[in-house]
């Protein structure tokens, strides 16, 4: 797996120009207003998470993936590496963006990072991991480019399902505001449980997603 990780980091570093742009944009945004640090953290972390999708596209370019599986790696190792790579990339994104905010804050003598942002940052990281859990099996099944189309369709279906769900709830006289109020109540009264609960939910999603991805790769002709 170490070899695959090195390869993916080598390929991700090719997008160094993009990283520089992210850096510049981050500094620009954080400098423009004091309340934008959480936006920068989410934005940069998302971009870093995207590297895992790019790595799948690189693997599929010019049938490179056939050759990769002639190396001493199993299909399971390949899948595991993609999950580990996304965890590391997300973490780097989170640390990098927080560091940028802190540096900009120090230069401008403004406290951009508040202590209460830590659970929020953790929430962003976990939410993105949840999305990764959804995305990776689709990407591995349909490939880099087709996977993106499939992903749009899946998110479209989820969006439509939410609209339909809310219409049905409205039919039963339960409104969006009621749900938000209920969730707020649930989270504020059980803060101690909410975070571990969310972590467990994300871990479960990653576990299921990993199993599905392994099955997909084991049946894939290369």
């Amino acid at each position: 797996m170490k070899g695959l990780l090195i390869k993916d980091f080598q390929l991700s570093l090719l997008n160094i120009r993009m990283l520089v742009i992210i850096c510049v944009v981050s500094i620009f945004i954080t400098s423009s207003s004091t309340g934008s640090a959480s936006f920068v953290i989410s934005y940069v972390t998302i971009i870093f998470f995207m590297f895992v999708l790019t790595s799948i596209s690189y693997d599929e370019m010019d049938h490179s993936i056939s050759f990769l599986f002639t190396l001493p790696i199993s299909r399971k190792t390949y899948v595991r590496e993609k999950y580990v790579f996304s965890l590391i990339c997300g973490m780097i994104g989170l640390v990098f963006s927080t560091a940028v905010c802190m540096v900009v804050g120090a230069v401008k003598n403004v406290n951009l990072i508040e202590p209460d942002m830590i659970p929020a940052a953790l929430g962003i990281y976990l939410t993105l991991l949840f999305i990764v859990a959804l995305m990776l099996p689709i990407q591995l099944k349909f490939g880099g480019d087709n996977g993106r189309i499939a992903l749009f369709i899946v998110f479209g279906v989820i969006f439509v399902a939410i609209i339909i769900g809310s219409k049905i709830l409205e039919h039963f006289n339960i409104h969006e505001a009621d749900i938000i109020k209920f969730l707020d109540l649930l989270l504020s009264s059980n803060t101690a449980l909410a975070i571990p609960g969310f972590i467990l939910l994300v871990l479960a999603a990653l576990g299921i997603s990993y199993k599905i991805s392994v099955k997909i790769m084991e049946h894939k002709a290369l």
């Binding site: 390869k7 080598q10 010019d62 050759f67 790696i73 049946h219 002709a221």
Partner: protein, 283 residues
């Protein structure tokens, strides 16, 4: 035995592979056939890149699906249409190879790359066909694998580059525990390198013979209509109608040289054998 394929079946909509072959240590075995004959499918099935529908494949005495990562370190592969991402450089491949292979010899690999004029800091996609082919073979030879599987390693190479690649393979075979399975369109490459050759056509092995026998005992007989009528056909394998009469493939050159001094007997070449086996009518 290093590699054994027994009645391996792979069914596609318009193609069926049904292949058996074996490879011993110290041997170079060639696989030859037209485009679409099933060479790449055979390689992919050995490497478990595609799942087979029947038969069995054993590598180092183990089912190919049970090979561990350690076992896979003893296999090196050159695929015709696939390799490391073109966006990487040789310099970036080195740490990947170091992490994957216990026996990867970084110093030797770098020296060989320098000797063959392959720049370490240039993206592979910028390489010429010859440079890419040489790199693929150098990567395959870099970790002391016991089995080398090469799908068209000399495709698109000029004569000099081809010779360099073939010499690298000859050097590799100086160790008798090594073995090579190679496919090529260029029959002269195989004539000079292989101990035995499998001819594959429409997914089936149509001929398997030692290269020495192919070159010494096989012949193409050129005969006109009259000569053909009188010809003893018991040693004729296949016949192809030509403008001057017939061209016949035999594995008993000496018999026809001695008994039919008036006919043209041309020494067998792999190209002739393929042509007559594929296009000719089998007797």
């Amino acid at each position: 035995m290093i590699l054994e394929m027994k009645n391996v079946l792979k069914q596609y909509d318009n193609f069926k592979l049904d292949c058996s072959l074996s490879l011993d240590a110290g041997c170079v075995t060639g696989l030859i056939g037209q485009n679409g004959a099933g060479k790449s499918t055979t390689f992919k099935s050995i490497l478990d890149l595609i799942h087979i529908d029947g038969g069995e494949i054993n590598v180092f005495g183990k089912p190919h699906t049970s090979l561990t990562n350690r076992d896979k370190q003893d296999i090196s592969i050159v695929l015709a249409d696939s390799g490391f991402s073109g966006y990487l450089t040789i310099g970036k491949i080195i740490p990947v190879m170091s992490a994957m292979y216990d026996k990867f010899d970084k110093k030797d690999f770098t020296e060989r790359c320098n000797r063959f004029g392959l720049p370490l800091d240039k993206q592979i996609k910028e390489f010429s066909t010859g440079m890419s082919a040489k790199l693929k073979v150098l990567v395959a030879l870099s970790h002391d694998a016991k089995l080398l599987i090469l799908d068209e390693p000399t495709a698109g190479l000029d004569v000099v580059a081809r010779d360099e690649v073939l010499n690298m393979l000859r050097d590799y075979m100086e160790d008798e525990s090594h073995a090579i399975l190679i496919s090529s369109h260029i029959s002269t490459d195989l004539e000079g390198l292989c101990d035995d050759i499998y001819f594959i056509c429409d997914g089936k092995v149509i001929l398997h013979e030692d290269t020495d026998v192919l070159l010494s005992d096989y012949a193409s007989l050129k005969v006109d209509e009259k000569q053909y009528e009188k010809l003893d056909k018991k040693y004729i394998i296949s016949v192809l109608k030509e403008s001057y009469g017939y061209r016949c493939l035999t594995a008993q050159k000496q018999f026809y040289l001695e008994n039919y001094p008036d006919i043209i007997v041309e020494k067998g070449s792999i190209d002739d054998i393929i042509m007559l086996k594929v296009k000719g009518e089998t007797l």
